[in-house]
């Protein structure tokens, strides 16, 4: 049975990962992928993402113009392929710089 501490940690862990997920998705989609393989790739890098989080996120990023997508047939099935747009690339660079700054600050702050 999970304790209250476990629940608090789980909430904070999810909050911490949520912000990084966009950066991970944008970076991964520099090469074209469809949802299922994208999730696998992220999982391979240790970033397990729930399908119910990933697909709505992809749609939101596409609406914001950061991704482009197209339906294409592969292995006799229609799949929706996503790719980083030019605008997405620009935002990715900015987010990466921001993440590096945060990472550097946090590394100094949390090191014992």
């Amino acid at each position: 049975m999970p304790t209250q501490t476990d629940a608090v940690f789980e909430n904070l862990r999810l909050e911490l990962r949520r912000g990084s997920l966009v950066l991970a998705v944008l970076a991964t989609l520099r090469a074209e992928q469809y949802g299922y393989t994208l999730r696998k790739t992220l999982g391979d890098y240790g970033l397990d993402v729930d399908e119910n989080t990933l697909y709505p996120l992809l749609r939101r990023l596409e609406t914001q113009g950061l991704l482009v997508s197209e339906w294409r047939e592969e292995n006799k099935r229609n799949k929706r392929f996503y790719l980083l747009s030019a605008h997405g690339e620009q935002i990715l660079q900015q987010l990466r710089a921001e993440w590096e700054a945060i990472n550097s600050s946090l590394t100094s702050l949390v090191k014992e």
């Binding site: 469809y34 119910n52 697909y55 709505p56 749609r59 099935r77």
Partner: protein
């Protein structure tokens, strides 16, 4: 695979119309990929139980669809605390007094009914009023929420217009002065003009009271003098202290007991008016006593409200003076 179709159909129902087909096609593709992968892993066709487990792991259709919908709420997190606060104030300042008043009025109208029946009559009346009031408040906040979303009026604020910090233990000197004058005048008037059993003898009307009245008058006059002394002390040292707040509580308790006792004591001994038969006069005296007795619950409720406020003050002052709490800006004087 019929279960899968039913699952996708259930999700589709809740999705925004424009994106429905697209989202379902993508979800369907993802689920098929997952099924294929599992079948490769297990080395056999997926059974119904395994498919059920997969879909259960995916989540309730409503929850899955919900992730694709924009976050929406009748009253958002910004205005919700204000909404809750308004409901609490409404319950405290309107609902509770109204409920008590209706119970009392219904009891006065039907004194033969037991209190439980009177209360159930009140609940019937209150039910509609509560629904209408909560509905109106909610509707007002829904409108406010929409206006806030469009105009962001909450961001337009001025720090200089914030309300001043109020010290609840500070006593206004003006109110202390008014209290002192009023109580001393009441004590004088009670003793000079009402300390006789023949309380009224003018214009052909005579009212005589029982000896209970004298105890009441002298008791009330004494309490008025005590209140005058307390108000004077409050005027000189305008912060509630534990001792003075307890004295106020004690005076009000005694006052409430005195008034309630008078109402029950059948204080009118005789009533006489020119041209009124003896039987009719006796009847009038009885009627006055009955109505005084019927107003007893009102006096009890009013007394309890006053004592509740007094008690809250005692607790607040005691808590604020606790050495564990640091109220740097508050100066508390003792008696």
């Amino acid at each position: 695979m019929e279960t899968l179709q039913r699952y996708l159909h259930a999700i589709e129902f809740w999705l925004p119309k424009a994106q429905r087909k697209d989202i379902i096609a993508e979800l369907s593709e993802d689920l098929h990929s997952q099924i294929e992968e599992q079948q490769d892993q297990f080395g056999h066709k997926m059974s119904d139980a395994e498919l059920d487990a997969l879909l259960k792991q995916r989540g309730n259709p409503l929850l899955v669809a919900n992730r694709y919908l924009p976050q929406q709420s009748l009253i958002g997190p910004v205005l919700f605390p204000l909404y809750k606060f308004v409901l609490k104030i409404w319950a405290l300042c309107w609902l509770t007094p109204a409920a008590v008043l209706v119970v009392l009025v219904k009891h006065t109208q039907h004194p033969e009914l037991p209190w439980t029946s009177t209360m159930s009559l009140t609940i019937g009346w209150l039910w509609t009023a509560v629904f209408v009031a909560i509905g109106t408040i909610t509707l007002a906040f829904v409108v406010l929420e929409r206006v806030e979303a469009k105009t962001h009026f909450l961001e337009n604020w001025n720090p200089r217009k914030l309300p001043p910090v109020r010290d609840p233990n500070k006593i206004s000197r003006a109110s202390s002065a008014i209290e002192a004058v009023f109580n001393s005048a009441a004590a004088v008037l009670l003793v000079c003009y009402t300390s006789s059993l023949a309380i009224w003898d003018s214009s052909g009307v005579r009212i005589h009271l029982t000896s209970v009245w004298l105890y009441f008058v002298w008791g009330l006059a004494f309490l008025s003098l005590l209140n005058t002394a307390l108000s004077t002390a409050n005027f000189v040292r305008p912060y509630w202290s534990t001792v003075r707040s307890i004295i106020r509580f004690a005076i009000d308790t005694a006052g409430t007991i005195l008034v309630c006792w008078l109402l029950k004591a059948h204080v009118v001994r005789s009533f006489w008016a020119s041209g009124l038969s003896e039987a009719k006069a006796l009847d009038t005296a009885n009627t006055i006593n009955i109505w005084l007795e019927r107003s007893f619950p009102y006096a009890v409720v009013a007394g309890l409200v006053i004592l509740g406020i007094d008690l809250y003050r005692v607790l607040r002052v005691t808590r604020d003076r606790s050495p564990h709490l640091n109220h740097g800006t508050v100066t508390v004087s003792s008696l």
